[in-house]
Amino acid sequence: MFAYYLDLAFRSLKRNPVLTFLMVLAIAVGIGASMTTLTVMHILSGDPLPGKSAHIYYPQVDPTPADWYNKSHPLEVMDDRSAMDLWSAHRADRQALVVQSPVKVSAPGVDRPPLMLTLLATTSDFFPMFEVPFEYGSAWTPSDETGRARVAVISSDLNDKLFGGKNSVGKTLRLKDSDVRIVGVLKPWRPTPLFYDAEGGFTGNGYDTSYYAKPEDVFMPFQSALEVNDGNFFQFTCWGNGPTVPGHLENSPCLWVALWVELDSAAKADAYRAFLENYAEQQKTLGRFANTDTRMLDLMQRLDYEQVIPKNVRLQTWLAFAFLAICLFNTVGLLLAKFLRRAGEIGVRRALGASSRAIFAQCLTEAGLIGFIGGVGGWLLTMIGLWLVRRQQTPYSDLVHLDVSMFVVTFMLAIAVSLLAGALPALRASRIAPALQLKTL
């Protein structure tokens, strides 16, 4: 029966090519616009650690003085002392300190000018906690941390650039003025967004797109990195007169170190919250803290707090779906005109014994066919739309593509929209009384 309806639908579409074209165009434009923006949203709003993000938390305390002007406590990052205290307490299942700094990188024996890259000073839990994949070698050990070993893990990009993608474990890298030994090389890794770097996002009011950039190229044990790249660190903010030596922030009245922890159960998370509050209280008793505000957001809450999804993208998505709504209304109108114009034909079929259900099914088949063709058009327009987005050179341009799930969504949306648009006209058509139509033939 479906094949017969499909045949009828094809004939009907061929009979009114202009009307058919209009309906297909309406659906294609609506789908193209909404799928382009939806794909970008889908890519940008993804969970960077699927299945694990609910166990990753970002604890915060507030070491700023009481009279300090910024009252949105606690601030984004911590001073080094609070961060080190919390990290070395080892109260979480895993914990990692995170600080970025620019660094000059070269490799002895490699014939190319030095590169300016970003160095991530962190601790060994960073890799298992954030599921960072290794191509060669492994992370450094906790004893490398205490021994302040001069070791580093590098990105696959940097390994390609300096060593042609070969196993470079054991080779030497020159960072600023120090030699460090490579112990691990990562596989290509692109967490989206770059969640552990998102501090300060909210100050951009959602206009900052830098959280979709690539991860750092060099990773080093926290203390070793502070020594190797001393003088090149940037504060998030300072109170008082700032660091005595520019770029050297240890023991300075500055906020600059982030801490991430993994807590595998809700009970552990509650316990950690209590620990954090205790710590703040204790520091206040010691006279080091003036405020006992703490905060502990999980990963997705934190991305939301930092407004990492660009506002322009949100706005475009809303507008695109509004456009889709107009196209939907338009298609309803056109389908209504089309089906009711065939009242005579429908009357004959009804008189010959077709049930109103059959008429309804046939009309919906036709609407679905239009939706499918519109979906093909919409898919092509989506590809053009995504190509335009890629050309805009935002930090996320290289990520934008239509994956299988969004490809399927495109067609499902197109057919759903057309069936929705077809429902009312089909209902009207199926209610056509046969006798009245036959009379006028």
Binding site: A26, A33, W68, P114, Q392
Partner: protein, 420 residues
């Protein structure tokens, strides 16, 4: 022509009428807001930077093997390298003037801070972008001094990239001066940068200079710029160059050659994405607004297609009605209605439907704008947009109905006698 019969006839086509009304209302609401957003983007793209942009270009380069520390010896070495570059560029035949500078309007790389009126002020009075440059900054950028004087070469100091220190004197933009000193007389007054207790005297006021951030978060202080007599020294430098009139391309070529002659150990091949290379200011501007222009074009195209689709929808539905009512039209023609009467009938009918649609649409448009204002901190839409939208949609409706109505008016009175 009286309305009651038209209204009575419309009641028989409730579904169709409702659809067209809603479609017109939605189209008005959404297209109005979309056009408003496009308008705002275009307005932003066209705001003047305050620079004389013609013949201006930017050099961004990095030294290879330069010291990267902040100690005095490293800073002095870097400064000597930079001064060498500036001298080499200033000697070129097609170059008018050259300034060391940390950023340019629209370059998207900002130094910002708070400007206060009292020492140790906890809440700064205004947020502003800082430009660090030498005494040729005003001339090279073509900034207009409206009060006071320029920096002299002896007032220029130098410091490392992360070095701190507030300058004893600054030049500010008129916009910032007006905000700080609403009663005028900013010249000679003292401001305190970054909430510190170090005074800086305002020695000059320039008419206008935009901040480096092109859009979004910088909009609230887009004209608040502070110029400081400081040459920053780092492994990386930015230099603004004004070519002699009409000699932009030649000057850009000469500059590249001169820099490599002065010191070949540098990165200067054009890689604008990482901020290296030589580019005319027109490219800086184009890059800053590319996303805005892209979005405006995309939305503009979609709006046009939507209006076409809506128009086509009205044509489709009206054609259907005309087809359905051929007999009725024939009877009216037989009873003496002229072709003109029939044409007017359909036009009036469409005016009624579209009228209801635009009234509803105008309410929706304002509501949508209020929602967008809340969600996206957008501005209030001028009602002019709605008014133009209303007229455009009524015209679209009339245009769309014309062909089917004309066809209806040509229905012969004979139609009345057929197969009743």
């Amino acid at each position: 022509m009286t309305l009651p019969p038209i209204l009575a006839a419309l009641k028989k086509h409730k579904a169709g009428v409702t659809l067209i009304t809603l479609q017109i209302a939605l189209t008005l609401a959404i297209v109005c807001n979309a056009v408003f957003i496009i308008g705002q983007r275009i307005e932003r793209v066209h705001r003047p930077s305050g620079l004389d942009e013609q013949n201006l270009f930017l050099i961004q380069q990095a030294y290879v093997g330069a010291p990267s520390g902040d100690d005095a010896a490293s800073v002095e070495k870097l400064d000597a390298m930079q001064r060498g570059d500036l001298a080499a560029l200033r000697n070129l035949p097609d170059v008018e003037s050259v300034a060391a500078i940390n950023s340019l309007p629209l370059l998207q790389s900002s130094w910002t801070g708070g400007v206060g009126l009292k020492p140790d002020q906890q809440h700064s009075t205004e947020h502003a972008a800082y430009y660090f440059g030498d005494e040729q900054m005003l001339k090279t950028l073509g900034l207009q001094l409206v009060a006071g004087r320029n920096f002299t070469s002896s007032e220029i100091t130098n410091r490392g990239f992360r070095g701190v220190g507030e300058p004893p004197m600054v030049i500010i933009t008129k916009a910032l001066a007006d905000k700080l000193f609403p009663n005028g007389g900013a010249l000679g007054k003292t401001v305190y940068l970054d909430g510190l207790a170090i005074p800086s005297t305002i020695i000059g006021v320039v008419a206008r200079m935009q901040i480096p951030a092109a859009g979004g978060w910088g909009d609230s202080f887009a004209w608040n710029s502070v110029l400081q007599p400081v040459r920053l020294d780092a492994y990386y430098t930015r230099t603004a160059v004004r070519a002699k009139p009409g000699r932009l391309d030649a000057a850009m070529r000469e500059a590249r050659e001169a820099l490599f002659n002065a010191n070949p150990m540098r990165v200067l091949e054009n890689q604008p994405d990482i901020g290296i290379g030589i580019m005319p200011f027109s490219e800086v501007r184009a890059r800053a607004y590319r996303a805005d222009i892209g979005m405006a074009i995309l939305m503009g195209v979609i709006c046009v297609i939507l209006l076409c689709v809506t128009g086509a929808g009205i044509v489709g539905l009206t054609s259907f009605w005309v087809g359905q009512r051929r007999k009725q039209i024939g009877i009216r023609r037989a009873l003496g209605a002229t072709q003109r009467d029939i044409l007017h009938y359909f036009q009036t009918e469409n005016l009624l439907i579209a009228g209801a649609g635009v009234v509803l649409g105008a309410i929706l448009a304002v509501g949508l704008n209020l929602w967008l204002m809340k969600q996206f901190q957008m501005d209030r839409m001028s009602l002019l947009y709605v008014l133009v939208g209303v007229i455009a949609l009524l015209a679209l409706g009339q245009g769309a109905v014309f062909a089917p109505a004309l066809r209806a008016s040509r229905v012969s009175p004979v139609e009345a006698t057929r197969s009743v």
